[in-house]
Structure formats: structure tokens, C-alpha cells
């Protein structure tokens, strides 16, 4: 009767064996990464908050009955009520609507710049990191040069040279942001380059481009994803600070930073908290959630961070 009196551990072992035989237990590392991410409650919370804010921004026209630019002089500076959830600003525009529509632009700037910077950084970084030689040296120097400027100063300097517009801002963010991606990808490639399979590929006579982009790059994808999430957060913070100063996206387009711009006035700051406090909180929560996602991604994909 010993068969029926298996201990708990034995049962578990059997279960694993059965699954293994059925081919359900793939050894793929990304499965493990996904499981680990799922078990990270803070990262999941981040993902939920992130999606919530993202979706409400995307579907802004369906959610809000108002338009972000409609001026209603009769309803100026109204405190929050049922018809205006976040109240109205000095021109009678519905603040809640502006926050929703502002989110579209702010997220576009943040995500777009992060993706753009990552694209350029990866493009240069994987080839230069693999090839080394003079290409690498030149780009290393250029990125060093960009990085020796305090970022805010460099961004403002470029704003004054290129002029103030939405697309210019994204271009400027990409220009100032590719360096860190490049350096990270490069250092990844430097270590992958030493792997035996790369030497085998080289012995097969594959072209450098194929080796670098097709065979080496996929192994460096996890830290790149982490970098994209974390730099999205950073770019959103930068956009809001710049627009707050009145030097980011032109003021006629609603963005999270532009809504906060009016809070530079101490009267608005004291009397009309509904104009600036909710937006600020939403920016903070959004950035907070992206940071959680980024940290979760890093913990779940980086084998050196077990536990």
C-alpha cells in the first residue's frame, strides 16, 4: 500500500515529471521571466496603473464630453463639481479633459523619444560594439561629449537653437538620449562577442551585419527593454519640467507640463489647487508605475538579481 501513501514532495515531483513528459515545461528563459514578473506584485500594480492611464488618454474623446481647447468664459476657475470633475481653469476649459488630452501628448513625447533613442542607440551600439575599431571610438567620443553636459542645460540649449515645437522636442530628446542606450548595448556586445558561438559564426564567414544584428542583438534585448521603460519615465519628467517652464511643447497644445505651467503664479497655487494638484499627482503616479515596471523587468530578466 506504499504506493498510495506518497509524501507531498513525491506528489509534486510526479506532477513535474508528468508535465515534463507532456512537454508543458519549456526550458525557455522568457517563461521564467514572465512568471517572475507576475509574482512581483509592485510591478503588476505598476502595469495596471500604467495601462489605466494610457487607455484613458487614448480614448480621451470618448470619455470626456468637452474639448481640451474650448473656452467657456462664464465658467472660469470653477472648483471641481459633477459636471467638471477637476474644475475649470482661467479660461473656463475643463481641466479633466485637458489632463486626458495632455496625457496623449506627454506619453507620446516620452515613449516616442525613448523608442527613438533606443533605436539609434541599438543601431549604432550593436554594430560598433561588435566591430570595435575606429567606428566605436568615434561614437564613444561623441556620446561622451553629449554626456558631459548636464542634460537639462543641453536640452534647453538645443531648444534655443532648433526652436520650440512638439517634434523638435522629440528630436532633441532622442539626440540627448541615444548615448546612454548606445553605451549599454555596446558593453553588452563586448561581452557577447567573446562567446564561442560568435566565433563559430565568424568562422562560417557570415557578414558582420548578420552576426551583430541577427545573432548577437537578441541576447541583449532584456536590458534594452528595461532601458526603454526607465527612459520613458525620464523623458516624461523632462517634458513636464520643460513645459512647466514654458520652454517645452508650445503652450497652445495641452500637455501635462503645460497644464502645470499656470501654477507658477502664487495666486493660482494657493487658490486654485484643482488646476495643478491632480495633474501633478497623475504624472507622479504614471512615472511611479513605469519605474515599477522597469524595476520588475530588470529583476525578472537579470539572472544576477535572483531572489
Amino acid at each position: 500500500m506504499a504506493k498510495h501513501r506518497k509524501s507531498k514532495l513525491d506528489k509534486k515531483m510526479d506532477e513535474i515529471k508528468r508535465k515534463e513528459e507532456a512537454g508543458l515545461l519549456g526550458g525557455e528563459s522568457y517563461n521564467r521571466a514572465i512568471n517572475k514578473f507576475k509574482n512581483n506584485h509592485l510591478a503588476l500594480l505598476g502595469l495596471i496603473l500604467f495601462s489605466l492611464i494610457l487607455l484613458t488618454s487614448i480614448f480621451a474623446p470618448l470619455i470626456s464630453p468637452y474639448k481640451p481647447g474650448t473656452i467657456d468664459v462664464l465658467n472660469r476657475l470653477k472648483a471641481p463639481s459633477l459636471s467638471h470633475v477637476f474644475g475649470t481653469d482661467q479660461l473656463g476649459r475643463d481641466v479633466f479633459t485637458r489632463v486626458l488630452f495632455g496625457g496623449r501628448i506627454s506619453i507620446l513625447v516620452g515613449l516616442g523619444s525613448a523608442l527613438g533613442a533606443a533605436f539609434i542607440g541599438v543601431l549604432i551600439g550593436s554594430y560598433a560594439g561588435y566591430k570595435g575599431s575606429w567606428i566605436d571610438k568615434i561614437f564613444l567620443r561623441i556620446s561622451e561629449m553629449f554626456m558631459s553636459f548636464p542634460r537639462m542645460i543641453l536640452v534647453l540649449m538645443l531648444v534655443s537653437i532648433l526652436g520650440q515645437s512638439l517634434w523638435n522636442l522629440i528630436i532633441i530628446f532622442i539626440l540627448t538620449g541615444w548615448g546612454s542606450v548606445y553605451r549599454m548595448v555596446r558593453s553588452q556586445m563586448l561581452s557577447i562577442r567573446e562567446e564561442e558561438y560568435v566565433q563559430a559564426l565568424r568562422a562560417f564567414g557570415l557578414s558582420d551585419f548578420v552576426i551583430a544584428y541577427k545573432h548577437m542583438l537578441p541576447n541583449a534585448i532584456a536590458p534594452i527593454l528595461v532601458n526603454i521603460t526607465l527612459s520613458t519615465a525620464m523623458f516624461i519628467l523632462q517634458e513636464t519640467s520643460l513645459s512647466f517652464l514654458g520652454l517645452g511643447v508650445p503652450l497652445n497644445i495641452a500637455t501635462w507640463g503645460n497644464i502645470l505651467n499656470v501654477a507658477q503664479d502664487l495666486n493660482v497655487l494657493r487658490e486654485n489647487w484643482w488646476i495643478w494638484l491632480p495633474v501633478g499627482l497623475i504624472i507622479s503616479i504614471f512615472v511611479f508605475s513605469i519605474n515599477f515596471i522597469g524595476d520588475g523587468l530588470r529583476d525578472s530578466t537579470d539572472p544576477s538579481q535572483q531572489g
Binding site: 537639462m152 537653437i161 497655487l269 511611479f288
Partner: protein
């Protein structure tokens, strides 16, 4: 490196719309000058020389402290910069001290009490600290501490007649804490993990087994080693501090270089923008040099070349 940057900055200066004479010569001189004299002046200033020659002339001038003139006010740029340098330095050093002391102390304590409520609170504060836009934090703190509680002034630095350090101190507290907030959070997280790392090392166990008191093990053997990466981090974050002061000085109406920079960008005052940018690069390079020296002092294994 600095040479290439000065070259680029001069390239930017050349893009300035309008006549280069306008920022090279004091406007007082320029106001009463005849057109023939102006042509002569251009020749004597070397404005008709090729680009490279002009660049080296300009560089020579900069090395001797001749930074040109602001386009809007006509004041010499060196005067503008040196007038405001004190205020900016005061603010950045206060923020730096605040964030390194508070950050490393709290980070270390939370590493020592790993898993406690204190540890969790510190970790969450660290997360919040890096996520809140600093200017929003500034606005909230102005609303709470100046406008509602009336404890601290909302902005400004010196009022006529009240210019001793103790009169300025209340003005300094809020901006310094806000400016240092992001860095405090970063230092805190970093100090925590690096202290945890240090406490797991063999020599800590050796020290404990020798019967050295616990606090001495933690402070002398653990903290000192854990501090090295923290100092490196602080060095890396210094550019962020300089960049951040641009926004914070604007919010608190702090009369420093950052505020001047914002108004220069708003007024398209390119010569001033370029010069301030160059100074900021210089500050970053000096700071990273100081960090190298400091780490070598802290960690006997590192030797300066």
C-alpha cells in the same frame, strides 16, 4: 574633450542671428560709432578672418576672461555669471550636503534593519522620490510650508538690509531639500544595497569574530567600504543637480545662474546660453575629477594614475 566642446559652442555662437559685433563689443561703444568706424572695427576684430582663426581668437579671449556681451541687457557675460555664481553654488552645495548625508544615513540604517517596517518605508520613499517631478514637489512644498503654515518664505534669496547668512538660511531650506530630493532617493537606494553587499563580506565576519563591538563593525568596517560606490554615484548625479537647479531656481525665484539661463533661453540670448552651457560642462568635469580623488582617499585599493 573640453576643446571639442568649446569648438561646438563657438559653432553655435556663429549661428547667432544678427551681427557678431553685437556680442563682442560693449553696447556703449557700439551706440556712438560711425559706419566707417564699424567696418574698421570688424576688420580689427578679425571678423573677416576664416572660421578657424576666429575660433582661436575667441578661445584666447575666453581663457583671459572675455566672454562677450549679453544680447538683451548689454552687460558683459562674465559679470552676469560671476554675480550669480554665489547663489547657485550656495544652493547646490546645500542640496548636495542634504542628499548625501540624509541619503547615506537612511540607506545604511535601512540596510542594517533589513526587512523591518523602517526599511520598507525608506524603500517606498526612495521610489516616490525618483518619480515625483521635482517642480511639482516644489509647488506642493511651497503650498504647505509657505502659503499655508507660513513657516518658510516661498522664494527669493536676499532682501535689502537682511543679507547675513542667518537671514538667508530660511530661504535656502526649501529649495535645497527639493533640489536634493531625487538625489537623496538615489543615494538612499544605492547606499542600502551597497551596505548590504559590504555586510556580507568575509572581513566583516572576521571583524565580528574578533569581538569588535557591533557598532564599530558597522560604521568603521562596513560603512566606510559601502561609501565608495555611493561617492561615485554622487559624482555621476552631479550633472543632474546642476540641470535640476535650472528648474528649481525658477520655481523659487532663486537669483542664480539657472534662472538666468531660463530667461536667456526665453529671450533667445544665444551668447549667454552658450557661455553658461560651457561653464556647466566645466563644472561637471571638475566635479568628476574631485570624485576620483575622493574615492582614492576612501578606498586604499584604488590608486590614481
Amino acid at each position: 574633450m573640453l576643446l571639442i566642446i568649446t569648438f561646438l559652442i563657438y559653432g553655435g555662437l556663429e549661428l547667432t542671428p544678427g551681427d557678431a559685433v553685437s556680442y563682442m563689443v560693449s553696447p556703449d561703444v557700439l551706440a556712438n560709432i560711425s559706419p566707417e568706424k564699424l567696418v574698421e572695427l570688424r576688420e580689427s576684430l578679425g571678423l573677416n578672418d576664416p572660421f578657424i582663426v576666429r575660433y582661436f581668437n575667441w578661445l584666447g579671449g575666453v581663457l583671459q576672461g572675455d566672454f562677450g556681451y549679453s544680447l538683451t541687457s548689454g552687460v558683459s557675460i562674465s559679470k552676469i555669471v560671476f554675480d550669480r555664481l554665489g547663489a547657485t553654488l550656495e544652493l547646490s552645495i546645500a542640496a548636495l550636503l542634504f542628499s548625501s548625508i540624509v541619503g547615506s544615513v537612511f540607506g545604511t540604517l535601512s540596510a542594517l534593519k533589513r526587512g523591518s517596517i523602517f526599511d520598507h518605508v525608506v524603500t517606498i520613499f526612495g521610489m516616490v522620490g525618483v518619480s515625483i517631478p521635482r517642480f511639482f514637489f516644489a509647488l506642493v512644498s511651497i503650498l504647505i510650508f509657505s502659503l499655508t503654515l507660513n513657516w518658510l518664505p516661498a522664494g527669493g534669496r536676499i532682501f535689502p538690509g537682511y543679507d547675513s547668512f542667518w537671514d538667508r538660511l530660511p530661504h535656502l531650506i526649501l529649495p535645497a531639500i527639493v533640489l536634493g530630493s531625487t538625489m537623496t532617493a538615489g543615494v538612499m537606494r544605492y547606499a542600502r544595497s551597497s551596505m548590504l553587499d559590504a555586510l556580507n563580506k568575509d572581513y566583516i565576519k572576521t571583524a565580528r569574530s574578533k569581538g569588535i563591538p557591533e557598532w564599530r563593525v558597522n560604521v568603521v568596517h562596513g560603512f566606510r567600504v559601502a561609501l565608495t560606490p555611493v561617492v561615485v554615484l554622487i559624482g555621476f548625479r552631479l550633472p543632474m543637480l546642476i540641470g535640476g537647479s535650472v528648474v528649481i531656481e525658477q520655481v523659487f525665484q532663486w537669483p542664480g545662474i539657472g534662472k538666468e539661463f531660463v530667461s536667456a533661453v526665453k529671450g533667445q540670448n544665444l551668447p549667454l546660453i552658450m557661455m553658461i552651457a560651457m561653464f556647466s560642462v566645466l563644472a561637471v568635469l571638475i566635479a568628476s575629477f574631485l570624485v576620483d580623488i575622493f574615492t582614492a582617499l576612501l578606498d586604499p585599493r584604488i590608486k590614481l594614475d
